[in-house]
C-alpha cells in the first residue's frame, strides 16, 4: 500500500484516498461564450506528466481535498498541501 499524507489527518493507506483531478484546472465562466474546443479542453485535456505531478486528491475519510505532489514514475511522494494554502 502506498502511503499518502492528508494535511489534516496525517499519513494514511492509499485506499483512503480518491484522485479528483490534475491541479490547476479552472472552470471557465459558463455565463460567457465558450467554444466547443475550449469546453472540451477544460473537460478532457490533461497534462498527464511522466514524472513530477501536481494533483488534487480527496482523503475520503475526512472529506478534505488537498494538493498532492508526487513522482508518477518512482511513486515518491513529494508533499501534501492543504488546498487553501496551495491556492495562495
Amino acid at each position: 500500500m502506498q502511503i499518502f499524507t492528508c494535511p489534516f489527518c496525517g499519513s494514511r493507506d492509499e485506499r483512503e484516498f480518491h484522485f479528483i483531478a490534475e491541479a490547476g484546472k479552472t472552470r471557465p465562466d459558463t455565463l460567457t461564450q465558450i467554444s466547443d474546443e475550449d469546453w472540451a479542453a477544460y473537460l478532457h485535456s490533461h497534462r498527464n506528466e511522466k514524472g513530477h505531478v501536481r494533483e488534487i486528491w480527496m482523503h475520503t475519510t475526512c472529506g478534505e481535498l488537498f494538493l498532492l505532489e508526487r513522482d508518477s514514475v518512482t511513486m515518491e511522494v513529494l508533499g501534501s498541501t492543504a488546498l487553501r494554502e496551495a491556492s495562495q
Binding site: M1, Q2, I3, H18, I20, R27, P28, D29, T30, L31, I34, D36, W39, L43, I56, M58, T60, G63, E64, L65, T74, M75, V77, L83, R84
Partner: protein, 930 residues
C-alpha cells in the same frame, strides 16, 4: 541412487519417524525432513519429468531454487497441487505424486516424447499449427500442459490470516549476516524484525561452519537470544516475497502444510537484505540427468538432514568457495573426486548419471556435484527498483551501493567470506554501513561455446537448451526479454533462479558481447509462488463487499420479508412466504387501494448548510434552487460536467441556510464526494458544510389513499391536513420525545409521506406506523411493489432508466437548459453538437395490450431502414395490477413519438408495440395532491 541417511548429524529428530507415500511406494523419514531430503535418504532419484520432453528429473537443490521436484500432495483427504519437495516438510500420511508424469516419475509413458526433441525446440509452435487451424491442435496441447491438477472441491479451511506490522529495520535472511545485523540493530535500540524462510535459523552456517570448535547451532542460538533480549522479533517459515512502493514488504508465513499461510504486510523504515546467494549449474552436455546436483545442496542435505548424497561423487566446480562442502562430504565418508570442467565434457547414463566422460575417458561416479559459481539473490533489491552492477571478479550481478531504505549484506552483497560478512553486517545493523570489502573469492568463468556438441540444458523445467538459445540468436530474438519469452527460459515455476544467468551467459557468448551489455535480470514479485488464498484473508463469502443492513431488518424478518440485495443494501423485496409474483401484485394493488408502508431508510440524506449553501446547490443542481422556499421540496437532477444525469432526487429547504439533499440509495458515497469536491474547489468552504446523515436517520414511507389516516393515528406534533401540509413540503416535529421529520414526497404517485426519526428510534416508529396501518388495512410493501408503482407514474430510477448518455432534456426536463440564468455543473455540455442532436434517445412509455405478457427488460427497439440497428431499449417493464403491463424505454426521438408503433426485439423474437406517455396513472396528479 546411493544416497543414504547417516546415523547421526543434521537438524532432524531421529526419534520421530514419519511415514509418507510417493508415486506408489511408502517411505519413512524423520521430523524435520523435507520431502526432498527424505527422498534422498530413501534412495529415490527420479522425482519428476521435465515439462516438454518428459525427461527424468532428479533433485538439483535443497531449497527454494529447486526446478524439478514438483509434487501433488494429498493429506487429510485434500489435494494440494504444485508443492515443491525441497520446501515441504513431511507430515505423517502425506501422499505425494510427481506431476507431469504417468503413472510414475520413474516410468512415464510420455518419456518417448524426447525422441522428437529436434522438432520441438523453442518456439516450434509459432512455426507450425497454422494449417489448417490452430483449434485442431490446441486441445491436445492443453491436455499435455500444466503441472499439478486443481481439486475442484472447494477447500473449506482456506481462510488466510492477514496482518499489518511495522518496524524500524526488517532483516531478510537469518544466516550469519542476517543474524548479526539484526542483533546489532536491536542492541542499538531499533525495533527489529528478522525473517527467515527455513524452519531453523542459520542459513548456510550448518554446511559452511562458523569457526573451528564452534557448533553452528550454539552460535545461532546465542544470536537469537541476544536479538530477542533486545526486543527484536524473529519469524521463521517466513519469506519476504515482494517489496512494493513506500517500503511495503510482503511476507508470507507458513502455518503448516495444508493450512493457509499468513500474509504480513510489513512497513519497514529500512530493509537489510541478507538473502544469501545461489550456487549455479554448469552448462555441459546432458547436465540434466538425475544425480547431477548442486554442490551446495549436497552440503545442505548433509548438514541439515544428515543425508549423504552419494558414495562416490564427482565434484566439478569453478570457484574457491566449494571447499568446505567437499571436506564435509569426505568427512562423512564419501569418496569425492574433483574434476575440472573442460570443453566437451559430458554426463553419462540414461535415467541417472553414471559419471562423466571427456573424449574417450570415462570417470565413474554415482553423482555429479556441480558448483558453477555464486550469484547473489537480489530479487527484493530489484522489486524495490534497485540497480545492479556487474562484477567481473565474481562474475555476478551485485546490488549497487545502499540507500537509506535498503542495504544488502553478506553473500547477497557479494561478501562471501564469513568474517567479512559478519563485520559488514555488524556495521549495517549499527547504522554505519561500510563499503563492500575486497573479496578473496576466485571464480573461473566457464565459457559457453555456442555450437558445441551435446544437449546442454539451460532451463531444466522448461527444457530450454543451449541449442534453443542459438536458434533464438540466429532468429534475432537477442534481447534478454525476447530471448526469455521466445525460449520460455526463466518462465517456469522456479522463475529462472537456476537458468537466468546461464541464459544470459549463453546469449552474451553468441552475440560476442560482455554480459552486462546483454542485459541484467529483472525480477518481479513474488520471489517464489504464493497461494492465492493469502490475498483473500477473512473477506470471504458475505464478508466480501458486505451488504449494508437496515436498522429495521429484524422487523422485516419478523414479517417474513424476502430480503434481497439492492444497490448494496439488504432490503425487503416483498413480504411473506407466498408466491413471489402473486405477493408483489397484491402489495402493488393494496398500495393503491388502501396504502402501503415502506422502509425508505436507504435513501440518501445529505445536509448542506451555511450562508452559501443556496448558491452552492443552485450550482450543483440542474434545476433552480434559489427560488426554493424554506419548508419546500423540489425534485432535481445533478449532472456531471459532461451534462449527463448523475443522480436524481429531491432537495428540501429546511430553512434559509439549511438543505437536505436526497439522493439514490446506491449513490450516496458518490454524491457526497461530488458535493465535497465542488464545495472545496472554487468556493469558500467556511460558508458551506456538507454532512451525510443517511445512516443517522431511519425513514418509513407511508403511501396511499389512507396514508393521512394512518399517520394521523400517531401522536405527533405535526398538522397533516392537506391545507397545512401540501405536496412537496417538509415539516419537523416530534412523536413524544422522538424528533420527527416528515417530507411529503411521493415515489409511488399517491399521497405519500416520508417519515424520518433518528435511527435508534426506528423500531418505535415502525411499530407505531404498522399498528396504525393494521387498523386501516394498510400493510408493509417491499421494493418490488414500489418499483411497479413508480413505473406506473413514469418516475425513473437512475442507472436503470438512464444510461451513460442520458441528459435531462431526454427525460423531458427542458426548462433549465433553455432558461436557467445561473451557472451549473454540466451547463455548457448541454449545448454541444451531440447534446443538440435530433436523434437522441428520450424516455418514453411502451403500451402493451392488456393480457399480453410484459416486455422483457433489456429488449431493444430497432429499425431495419436502411439497415438493421438498435434504436434504444426497454429499461423497466412490469405487470402492474393497477394498469396492466407497462414499460419504460429510452428510444431515439424521431421513432418515439406518442402513437408511433415500433418493433421490439428480444432474443430473436419481435413484437410490435405502440409508444405512449411514460405516465400511465393519474396524469393530472389528483392522487398526489390529495
Amino acid at each position: 541412487m546411493t544416497a543414504r541417511r547417516l546415523d547421526s548429524g543434521g537438524l532432524i529428530d531421529r526419534s520421530n519417524p514419519i511415514s509418507f507415500w510417493f508415486d506408489g511406494k511408502t517411505y519413512e523419514g524423520f521430523e524435520g525432513d523435507t520431502l526432498a531430503s527424505a527422498f534422498l535418504a530413501n534412495g529415490v532419484s527420479i522425482v519428476g519429468r521435465s515439462f516438454k520432453y518428459h525427461r527424468p528429473r532428479g533433485l538439483w537443490s535443497a531449497w527454494v531454487d529447486e526446478p524439478n521436484a514438483i509434487m501433488n500432495i494429498r493429506l487429510n483427504g485434500k489435494e494440494h497441487p504444485n508443492c515443491l519437495a525441497t520446501t515441504t516438510y513431511i507430515e505423517e500420511g502425506m501422499a505425494a505424486r510427481s506431476v507431469n508424469a504417468f503413472p510414475t516419475a520413474k516410468y512415464d509413458t510420455k518419456g518417448g516424447l524426447d525422441l522428437f526433441h529436434r522438432f520441438l525446440g523453442a518456439g516450434f509452435y509459432y512455426k507450425t499449427f497454422i494449417w489448417p487451424d490452430w483449434h485442431l491442435f490446441e486441445p491436445a496441447i492443453r491436455k499435455m500442459a500444466g503441472l499439478g491438477a486443481v481439486d475442484r472441491e472447494v477447500l473449506e479451511d482456506f481462510q488466510s490470516a492477514q496482518h499489518h506490522a511495522k518496524c524500524d529495520v526488517l532483516v531478510v535472511g537469518g544466516g550469519a549476516a542476517g543474524l548479526t545485523a539484526a542483533r546489532a540493530a536491536a542492541e542499538a535500540g531499533k525495533d527489529v524484525v528478522l525473517v527467515d524462510d527455513q524452519r531453523v535459523l542459520g542459513g548456510s552456517l550448518y554446511r559452511c561452519g562458523v569457526a573451528a570448535d564452534l557448533d553452528p547451532s550454539d552460535w545461532v542460538a546465542a544470536q537469537k537470544d541476544a536479538i530477542e533480549a533486545s526486543g527484536g522479533r524473529i519469524l521463521t517459515h517466513t519469506t519476504a516475497y515482494g517489496i512494493y512502493d513506500h517500503g511495503l514488504v510482503a511476507l508470507v508465513q507458513s502455518q503448516g502444510f495444508g493450512r493457509a499461510p499468513a500474509l504480513l504486510r510489513m512497513r519497514a523504515e529500512q530493509v537489510i537484505m541478507a538473502t544469501g546467494a545461489l550456487d549455479l549449474p554448469i552448462t555441459f552436455s546432458k547436465n540434466d540427468l538425475p544425480g547431477t546436483m548442486s554442490l551446495s545442496a549436497a552440503g545442505e542435505y548433509l548438514a541439515r538432514y544428515g543425508v549423504l548424497t552419494a558414495k562416490k561423487p564427482l565434484v566439478m566446480r569453478n570457484n574457491s568457495l566449494a571447499s568446505a562442502t567437499v571436506e564435509n562430504l569426505r568427512a562423512a565418508g564419501a569418496k569425492v573426486e574433483e574434476i575440472e570442467h573442460v570443453d566437451g565434457i559430458t554426463n553419462q547414463g540414461r535415467k541417472h548419471t553414471t559419471g562423466l566422460r571427456i573424449g574417450k575417458e570415462s570417470i565413474d561416479a554415482d553423482a555429479v556435484l556441480v558448483s558453477g559459481g555464486l550469484t547473489p539473490l537480489v530479487h527484493l533489491w530489484r522489486h524495490a527498483g534497485g540497480k545492479l552492477d556487474w562484477c567481473e571478479t565474481r562474475q555476478a550481478f551485485l546490488p549497487k551501493p545502499a540507500t537509506d531504505a535498503m542495504i544488502a549484506i553478506g553473500a547477497a552483497n557479494g561478501t562471501y567470506d564469513l568474517a567479512q560478512a559478519i563485520e559488514e553486517a555488524e556495521a549495517a545493523g549499527k547504522g554505519t554501513p561500510i563499503d563492500r570489502p575486497e573479496t578473496s573469492y576466485i571464480t573461473t568463468p566457464i565459457e559457453t561455446k555456442p555450437g558445441s556438441k551435446g544437449r546442454q540444458w539451460i532451463d531444466f523445467q522448461h527444457d530450454v537448451t543451449l541449442k534453443d538459445i542459438e536458434v533464438a540468436a540466429r532468429e534475432n530474438y537477442v534481447s534478454v526479454e525476447h530471448l526469455k519469452r521466445y525460449t520460455t527460459l526463466g518462465m517456469a515455476s522456479d522463475q529462472g533462479k537456476t537458468s537466468n544467468m546461464a541464459g544470459l551467459t549463453a546469449m552474451a557468448a553468441l552475440r560476442g558481447k560482455p554480459i552486462p551489455q546483454v542485459g541484467t535480470t529483472t525480477s518481479r514479485p513474488p520471489f517464489m509462488p504464493v497461494p492465492l488464498e493469502i490475498y483473500h484473508g477473512a473477506k470471504t463469502k458475505q464478508l466480501w463487499s458486505p451488504v449494508k443492513r437496515l436498522p429495521l431488518e429484524d422487523k422485516h424478518r419478523d414479517l417474513d420479508a424476502a430480503l434481497c440485495e439492492y444497490g448494496g443494501w439488504l432490503r425487503p423485496g416483498w413480504y411473506g412466504k407466498g408466491d413471489r409474483d402473486e405477493t408483489i401484485q397484491k402489495e402493488a394493488k393494496a398500495a393503491r387501494d388502501t396504502g402501503g408502508i415502506f422502509d425508505g431508510s436507504t435513501l440518501g440524506k445529505i445536509e448542506v448548510m451555511g450562508p452559501d449553501a443556496e448558491a452552492f446547490l443552485n450550482f450543483v443542481y440542474y434545476n433552480t434552487i434559489k427560488t426554493l422556499k424554506p419548508g419546500s421540496i423540489r425534485y432535481g437532477f445533478m449532472l456531471t460536467e459532461g451534462g449527463i444525469v448523475y443522480d436524481d432526487g429531491v432537495v428540501t429547504r429546511v430553512d434559509q441556510n439549511r438543505f437536505i439533499v436526497s439522493c439514490s440509495s446506491s449513490h450516496v458515497d458518490g454524491v457526497r464526494t461530488h458535493l465535497e469536491a465542488w464545495r472545496q474547489d472554487g468556493n469558500d468552504p467556511d460558508r458551506i458544510f456538507v454532512h451525510d446523515q443517511t445512516t443517522a436517520w431511519a425513514t418509513v414511507t407511508v403511501t396511499g389513499p389512507k396514508a393521512r389516516d394512518v399517520l394521523g393515528r400517531l401522536d405527533t406534533t405535526i398538522d397533516l391536513s392537506a391545507e397545512a401540509f401540501p405536496h412537496m413540503t417538509y415539516r419537523e416535529g416530534a412523536m413524544g420525545t422522538i424528533s420527527l421529520r416528515i417530507a411529503r414526497v411521493s415515489f409511488s404517485g399517491d399521497l405519500s409521506y416520508e417519515v424520518s426519526v433518528p435511527a435508534g428510534h426506528a423500531e418505535t416508529l415502525w411499530d407505531a406506523i404498522t399498528a396504525a396501518g393494521k387498523e386501516q388495512g394498510v400493510g408493509p410493501i417491499g421494493l418490488e411493489a414500489m418499483s411497479i408503482l413508480r413505473a406506473e407514474k413514469g418516475f425513473i430510477i437512475i442507472g436503470k432508466d438512464t444510461d451513460g448518455e442520458t441528459m435531462p432534456h431526454d427525460l423531458g426536463f427542458t426548462i433549465p437548459r433553455a432558461k436557467k440564468k445561473a451557472a451549473f455543473i454540466g451547463d455548457r455540455s448541454l449545448h454541444t453538437e451531440k447534446a443538440n442532436a435530433e436523434d437522441r434517445k428520450v424516455l418514453v412509455g411502451l403500451s402493451v395490450a392488456d393480457g399480453d405478457p410484459p416486455l422483457a427488460t433489456g429488449a431493444h427497439a430497432f429499425t431495419e431502414t436502411p439497415t438493421r440497428r438498435s434504436l434504444g431499449y426497454v429499461t423497466s417493464s412490469y405487470q402492474s395490477p393497477n394498469v396492466g403491463p407497462i414499460a419504460l424505454a429510452i428510444i431515439e426521438a424521431p421513432h418515439a413519438k406518442v402513437g408511433d408503433t415500433i418493433k421490439i426485439w428480444h432474443k430473436e423474437e419481435v413484437r410490435e408495440i405502440t409508444i405512449c406517455d411514460p405516465c400511465r396513472f393519474d396524469p393530472e396528479g389528483g392522487r398526489l395532491h390529495a
